[in-house]
Symmetry: C2
Subunit: 223 residues, 2 copies
């Protein structure tokens, strides 16, 4: 007899995630999960999003990290309500799970939110397998990581809805054209939705805000 | 009754790792493990090391990746003998384990090697817990990831022997001084050994080559 424990853990996780997905849908809150390598710019993108939003109090974020409250503190400083989960105290520290995320929802007044972000632990592998209740999942790829990451971490491309190429102001300094990263995303997933952003230069974060507006208008369903 | 499966897996792994450690020690081959986030520059550092070495055929590398042979192909192009392990076909894909590494050793003529590198999967969390038989472990931290990673991934600092701050030529473009990353490494581990390198500008990779020479002279034992 062989017992597949991993599948059991994933089934339990997915059941809680499905409840979170539905709870947020009924509350009219768009839920967007963010995945990336460490330091690809998840928190920086959310800071810029809070600054651009009509009222940052209408955005919320659940932040996962192995240790520290550094990121939630940064986002609260932008007036975005933030809950921190430190995964070192929740079993496997390499990803968020649906259980702690569902508990963290209670920290928010959902009736007052437009959107809730879930910023995962910096890791391009383990978080992909664990649904948290997100309506949409975005993976961030920094140009500083080099152009080959889509092929090396294919599930992070295949199991997310949007690829956001970040820090494109640094392209000339690292000799990595954003177009090459985009081409590699499409090698893994030909019809992937891909955006490029920078919080320090052109094109700014307009493409990302446009995508968010689209998602808010459709309740997180791709048209 | 509660069975702690994780501990059992780690015990089995550590037993194989201890045999690899001893096998390489007896063969007079220094074994250095490299850990980092995706795209922090592990392969680029090894390419530069191969170019600087008296004979790159006397270096070997076992490369771990979820998918692709991109990195081992790059290192073979620098005349460094390389074996690739794709972790997607070895159970947990988020880290190398001692078993496949021990098998990969057979691809090398150990009598002809000065040093064997083990380049782990890009991930600052899971690989830390799995010893592979390395005599020394180095963690690479790119300045492009921001200065806070040592606090967010403390085990990657605590359970390695050396921190290598990479891409320091990019410091002015990302507003992250290498000294700030180094200070944060020391907040986690006050007496940590820390080097800064760049393959595109000052200070080059001299500090890393110096450390390697020290390790070769002492058989991988810290003086």
């Amino acid at each position: 007899m062989r017992i597949d424990l991993t599948q059991g853990i994933l089934d339990d996780n997915d059941e809680i995630a499905a409840r979170t997905f539905e709870r947020l849908r009924q509350a009219g809150v768009l839920c967007v999960g963010l995945l990336s390598s460490p330091g690809a710019g998840k928190t920086t993108l959310l800071e810029a999003t809070a600054r651009a939003w009509r009222d940052p109090m209408r955005l919320g974020v659940i932040v996962g990290d192995v240790a520290t409250e550094v990121d939630s503190a940064r986002l609260r400083a932008c007036r975005m309500p933030a809950a921190q989960i430190n995964t070192a105290s929740h079993g496997a520290s390499c990803h968020l799970s649906a259980g702690p995320v569902a508990e963290a929802l209670d920290a928010f007044d959902l009736a007052r939110l437009d959107a809730l972000f879930i910023e995962n632990v910096g890791n391009l592998i383990c978080p992909v397998a664990f649904r948290l209740g997100e309506h949409q999942r975005a993976v961030l790829l920094s140009v500083t990581e080099g152009p080959d990451k889509p092929m090396k971490y294919p599930k992070a491309i295949l199991d997310t809805d949007l690829a956001v190429i970040t820090k494109v102001d640094l392209c000339p300094h690292v000799d990595v054209p954003a177009a090459e990263v985009e081409k590699n995303v499409r090698r893994v997933r030909p019809h992937a939705r891909v955006l490029t952003v920078s919080t320090r230069g052109a094109p700014g974060i307009g493409p990302w805000l446009g995508w968010l507006d689209d998602m808010l208008a459709t309740g997180g369903r791709t048209k």
